[in-house]
């Protein structure tokens, strides 16, 4: 025995070819939306992880550091105490760094660099080694005699592993100069950064330029997905309040506002594209439903004559539209999910954007995955398409006069 649901289902398949094409268009819109959303999610997560790995999720800095010009004004005094205080309040991993404008020299050449002395927990050190070290090793914590250089900087200075490297940091508060042994070569995606990067252990950098001080303390949270970033909104104010005067705590968003802005634009952009896909598919649905109505005007006239009210007729038309969209969405959704599952193991985009992508922090490999709201958004688009596409035909159907409709010939 039938009901209005099964009647609508049978009605949409009266013209199998036309309905298949229309459902296919909706299916394609669903497929592309799901894949695009998961790709966007993967890119977001990749960029987020790359970025936060290099600058941390939160950074302690001297208040107003961007406006300060003197090295000494950028120093966080008693960095170890500040770090210890943070350690009591959060489980986040901490990187303490001292950035020093310096001059490094080999036997015959010299270059201006940004010398970084840092101390990072093993998991972050391991990641840094994996990503950036191309030869040798990083200076160990507490090692006062070793230095690692950007590979292109080492070439410019004509130094090799084991050679002596001299560092001058005039106008600072430490020894101001030192001799080190080159123990490691580093590679960075941005050649400009590679040409002016030099790494010491934190203790060595402090001895050279600012005993006991640091210029930043990074906090790294165990977040792997961009969606987890919202947790910072609650953590950040509490930690900032405990820092005391003269220090500020800024998020990666505040540290990299341009990238944060890109993050804000990505999702609306994809949603606009999805709306265009669904809009085009919706036009086909309107066409199919309206043609069906025209072809069945007599039949609708009979249905109204038998006692169907405007509400029931509207429901029949809307149901047909929703079923048409849903059947396409089901197939498109399944194909989309299968594609996402197949690509969830990761695939490289290097062929697409080459090494340039790394400069902009794009991940080398993306792992398609759906975020919590990707499927609800796609379903909402499908539902909205079905409802909007049915609106006009349903309005026409609900206004049919039975006698006129039964005389109608298409």
């Amino acid at each position: 025995m039938f009901n209005l649901f099964s009647l609508s289902w049978r009605n949409i398949w009266r013209h199998r070819g036309r309905s298949l094409m229309t459902a296919g268009a909706v299916g394609l819109a669903v497929f592309f939306t799901l894949v695009y959303l998961s790709f966007l999610g993967a890119m977001e997560n990749g960029i987020y992880n790359n970025l936060t790995a290099s600058v941390g999720h939160l950074q302690v800095r001297v208040e107003g550091y961007r406006e300060k010009r003197e090295f000494r004004d950028l120093l966080i005094p008693n960095a170890a105490q500040v770090e210890a205080r943070l350690a009591t309040q959060t489980q986040a991993s901490r990187v303490v760094a001292l950035e020093i404008p310096a001059l490094v020299a080999g036997e015959t050449r010299s270059r201006g660099v940004l010398l970084i002395g840092d101390q990072r927990p093993p998991e972050l050190r391991e990641r840094f080694v994996k990503q950036s070290l191309v030869e040798g090793r990083l200076p160990e914590a507490g090692d006062l005699d070793s230095i690692a250089l950007g590979a292109s900087l080492a070439r410019a200075l004509k130094v090799r592993l084991g050679d002596a490297v001299y560092v001058y940091a005039p106008g600072t508060e430490g020894r101001g100069a030192g001799a080190y042994r080159l123990v490691g070569l580093l590679r960075f995606p941005d050649p400009a950064i590679e040409a002016r990067s030099a790494y010491l252990a934190l203790a060595a950098a402090q001895e050279l330029a600012a005993p006991g001080s640091a210029t930043r303390i990074e906090l790294h949270f165990p977040f792997t997905r961009y969606s987890q970033d919202a947790q910072l909104d609650t953590v950040q104010p509490a930690l900032a309040a405990s820092l005391g005067p003269g220090l500020s705590l800024e998020s990666w968003r505040e540290a990299s506002p341009a990238i944060a802005q890109i993050f804000n634009l990505l999702t609306p952009l994809v949603l606009i594209f999805a709306a265009i896909f669904f809009g085009l598919a919706g036009l086909l649905v309107v066409n199919t439903i309206y043609l069906g109505l025209l072809e069945r005007t007599r039949e609708f006239g009979v249905i109204v004559a038998l006692g169907a009210g405007p509400g029931q007729v509207t429901r029949m038309v809307v149901l047909e539209s929703l079923l048409l969209c849903s059947s396409g969405a089901l197939v498109g959704g399944l194909l989309g999910l299968l594609t996402i599952a197949a690509l969830s193991g990761g695939f490289s985009l290097e062929a697409l954007y080459g090494e340039v992508g790394s400069v902009f922090g794009l991940p080398e490999k993306v792992y398609l995955s759906l975020r919590a709201w990707d499927i609800p958004i796609t379903l909402a688009y499908t539902l909205l398409t079905g409802l909007l596409a049915a609106w006009w035909p349903a309005r026409v159907a609900a206004r049919l006069e039975p006698v006129e409709a039964m005389r109608f010939t298409a």
Partner: protein, 224 residues
Amino acid sequence: MTPVLQVKELTKVYRVDTVETPALRGVSLEVHPGEFIALAGPSGSGKSTLLHLMGGLDKPTSGEVWLGGQRIDGLSKAQLSNLRLWNVGFVFQAYNLIPVLTALENAAFVLELRDEPREVRESKALQALETLGMKDLAHRRPNQLSGGQQQRVAVARALAARPKIILADEPTANLDSKTGLALIEHMRTLNREQGVTFVFSTHDPRLLERVDRIVRLEDGQIAA
């Protein structure tokens, strides 16, 4: 006895641009419960228009239509739909079955619109099909049935809903004479055995021998 349906001084004028065509000119008629009435007359005499107005499918230009003691000519579209759903059964000249539904489902269609439970719908529709000798063909679609069988399903659709009155507009016009007579016999049996009130239009003189009362229409008026 209170009439199940009554029309008083009914007129209907169709207007196309500035041209007015009168279809009914002051028709008055009473239909009592259990009657089997034929509206006779040539094409264009107003038979279909009168049936449409009696069943609340259209609104008169003037006059009154009363169904089961309720005046219906001033009701809204939604009220008229509801009134037809619960009180009037229709049989049309062109059968007008829904092609994607089986005979049983077509017979149960009005009950579905009434939101009656599935078991009730099935039972009433089967009973109506059985009465019309169509039970064995209950699961066939309209395109698998002959014209006479389709029209019997259409009568079953009207009958299953147990309305106060069944209005049939030229129900035999698309059938050969033998099949048409058989259909009218079925309707007559229902009228006699179950007391179903029928008003149908026809211009076939052989069918008029089987009715209680003949209402002859000419030029939109009841002929003397």
